[in-house]
């Protein structure tokens, strides 16, 4: 099945616009600063948690209600497959790199765009890592495809209706925001 060139161009243009908006919001939220990101690991600055959880809850509620309104087909939304061991290793590497560099891929772009040297250095490391991974892929492909668990979502995993899971996540997020505010106030006082 071929995809019309117009559709590809429209998709790429949309992706570019969303990417720019994402970068701008990250920058405005202060996530271009390594100090802000690393502060999360020491519970000294919960900006990362608040920004990313706000985005998550907004996207979740938006997608859910757009689906209910018939404007979005949630069933057509791509859900990545789960490969337990390789993704656990990848998560550890990612977390270690984030702690070490103070930036993740998205925020390193933002930091580089605002002229920060550490952002440029992390982006260079990112490109080097991608190249190294692809060069070594023939040796890693067995690990890469090991322990496949298929695709599943929270409603699948918990055997609960989607609407109820949406409510639980929204409620949990609000409770955690309140807790985060209290923690920050107690640290400041």
């Amino acid at each position: 099945m071929s995809v019309a060139p117009d559709a590809v161009a429209a998709t790429l243009a949309t992706a570019f616009a969303i990417g720019c908006a994402f970068g701008w919001l990250l920058e405005r939220a202060g996530l271009g600063s390594a100090r802000v990101l690393v502060g999360q690991f020491y519970f000294a600055n919960l900006t990362v948690f608040k920004v990313l959880f706000s985005a998550l809850v907004t996207a979740m509620l938006g997608a859910f209600w757009l689906d209910r309104a018939g404007a979005l087909d949630l069933g057509a939304v791509y859900v990545p497959d789960t490969f337990a061991v390789p993704q656990a290793i990848g998560g550890l590497l990612f977390g270690g790199g984030l702690l070490l560099a103070g930036l993740c891929p998205g925020t390193s772009c933002v930091a580089a765009a605002t002229g920060r040297g550490d952002g440029l250095a992390v982006m260079a490391g990112l490109v080097a890592g991608v190249l190294a991974f692809n060069v070594a892929f023939d040796r890693l492909d067995q690990l890469y495809a090991s322990t496949p668990l298929g695709t599943f979502t929270l409603p699948d995993l918990l055997h609960l209706p989607t609407g109820l899971v949406v409510a639980l996540v929204a409620g949990m997020a609000v409770a955690m925001f309140v807790a985060a505010e209290h923690l920050m106030r107690s640290r400041q006082s």
Binding site: S54, V57, L61, F64, W65, D67, R68, A69, G70, D73, L74, G75, A76, V77, Y78, V79, D81, L149, G150, T151, F152, T153, D156, P161, T162, G163, L164, V166, A167, L168, V169, A170, G171, A173, V174, F177, V178
Partner: protein, 206 residues
Amino acid sequence: MIGLHRTMALVALILGGAAAASDGSGPAGTRRLVADIAAGRDWTTAVALAERIKAGERPSIFDLRGQEEFQRFHIPSAVPATLLDLLETRLPRSAFIVVYADGARAAQAWTLLRMRGYRDVFYLREGLYEWIARVHEPALPVDATPTERADFDRRAALSRYFGGQPRIDVPRAQMPAGYWTAGGDLGHRPPVATALLVAAIRRRGC
């Protein structure tokens, strides 16, 4: 700023609470389900399935007839399954899935899989009977028209690909009837019709 945060939290709680109160699959999802059934997008033909497999696609095919019937004969690469198995199965959301059974179970399985979020799901309207009659043992009537002959040639190639046995010069009255024939019944064959076809294949040692 605190006021804005409180308002956002309140909106999130209201939308979340309303989500819990709404139906599990949602009216939009249900509408799409009904629209797909009405437009005939819920089923595929055995010939279309065979052509997609021959073209290199690897569908997940579930045979819902029971272990005993499955052991006797099944569509190549199919696996036996129950509705409970389908409730637990984990496949990519975009997986190409085909289910078949004798009777309404296939349509029930289709609905279950669609409710679970799988999009590319189809069932065979006449189950294994259709596979045997249309793909495994395509028949050419003795008084075939040129159109019927061309269609047979296409299906005979599929039959050979799947290790079947095309039949030629079949009396018109003995041609397998189905939704694909003029005047053929719509709906599934009785299980006994499928069992007779399977028994005939096994007698030949195929």
